[in-house]
Symmetry: C2
């Protein structure tokens, strides 16, 4: 098996120094047409109606992935953290929009290039498959949350997922997204999110520090809540 070009060698692993080689200036990557793209807050990587031309890989920052309805309602179907792929899938158009929540750095590659690499390297191909399967699993879980849990269970499940996903050892959790994103993710309103966080704090389940900080005082109780 031939070795992967530096652009994609680190893909599927944690973000590491390998990926630093992939700046636009690096000649070994020029042939792959891969480049770095920086997004300011609220800037879109793509819209749900755009032709799906590129695969995006988050190097730093955070994206909200959302679908809109004609009446203005918005469903955030997922968040893309560093290391995550966005725009996998094999359809002519993206089915959701991707927007930066915090300033974000992306690695952007044309689909064709991506697919060629995947065709040549079964290991890479299977990493892609796993990434897609993992998106699907998370989305199944989200349907369960949104469809069957009440506001308390939803938020408990959300806090636990964010804690697991950001991989913090201690119980201090940073939620980089505003309350409105949490609401649109869970099918609630910002008011309900806020009220429920307050209730959790009163009961001693969590401690809220500032706008972004939450520490989980009683994860076991949250788990119980999340299970109904």
């Amino acid at each position: 098996m031939k070795s992967l070009p530096p652009c994609v060698a680190g893909i599927g692993n944690d973000v590491g120094p390998t990926t630093a080689a992939c700046s636009g200036e690096n000649p070994s990557c020029a042939g792959l047409h891969c480049h770095v793209r920086k997004l300011a807050r609220h800037q879109h990587a793509f819209l749900q109606t755009d032709r799906q031309t590129h695969i995006h890989w988050v190097k730093a920052g955070l994206l909200r992935l959302y679908k809109g309805l004609a009446n203005g309602r918005r469903q955030i179907v997922g968040f893309a953290f560093p290391g995550d792929f966005v725009g996998l899938g094999s359809e002519p158009r993206y089915r959701f929009s991707a927007q930066a929540i915090t300033p974000t750095e992306l690695r952007v590659m044309p689909r064709a290039v991506f697919e060629n690499v995947a065709a040549d390297d079964p290991r890479f191909s299977s990493k892609l498959y796993e990434a897609l399967a993992s998106d699907l699993r998370r989305t199944y879980d989200l349907v369960l949350t949104v469809g069957q849990r009440d506001s308390e269970s939803s938020l408990a499940a959300f806090l636990l997922e964010m804690h697991a996903r950001t991989g913090t050892r201690n119980s201090i959790l940073v939620l980089p997204m505003p309350r409105s994103d949490i609401a649109d993710h869970l099918g609630l309103t910002t008011e309900t999110v806020s009220r429920t966080f307050s209730k959790f704090a009163q009961r001693g389940l969590i401690h809220i520090s500032g706008r972004r900080g939450i520490s989980l005082k009683n994860p076991a109780a949250l788990e119980r809540l999340a299970e109904g």
Copy 2:
């Protein structure tokens, strides 16, 4: 590229005569350990906690794919129609249970066999990838439905999706699943589903015939409802 064994040659296409070659008695398939499995009504293909040992392919019938919560609530994350794969994904355990709604016939293959075929044949591999991507797209749509639509919009969207998916030319639609399945799919109750169908019928949007038949009298209006 070597030709595919009869067991999987028809996979990804419509169910056709090719697949008939794949009975347990056929020696050319014995080495693949693929076999036919028939499920009676309410019988499970697997449970959400089972080890994910096999890939299932629906030949005839209908499966509900669901996740359960400790409090007894159930979310149907999808339905598997003839031609659909179930149990793609690359994790140690299924993340949902699969149960027959009507008597169902499955083609069942060990994952290892499946993966070997996929590794040898990029065309097959890419079909799998597409099937997975298509599950993911449908699930994103479901999150939008469950999270952002009210009962009328939900049901309008559901009717249109079932119509598209069962591929009926005319507007007569057979819903093979009971109301309770529709409810648990959309995050509603059977009562709400029933009431909303009645409202649709009163307004002349649909016509209800028997327990399973619905004809769409005004698909355009349903589309408008689904968009909010």
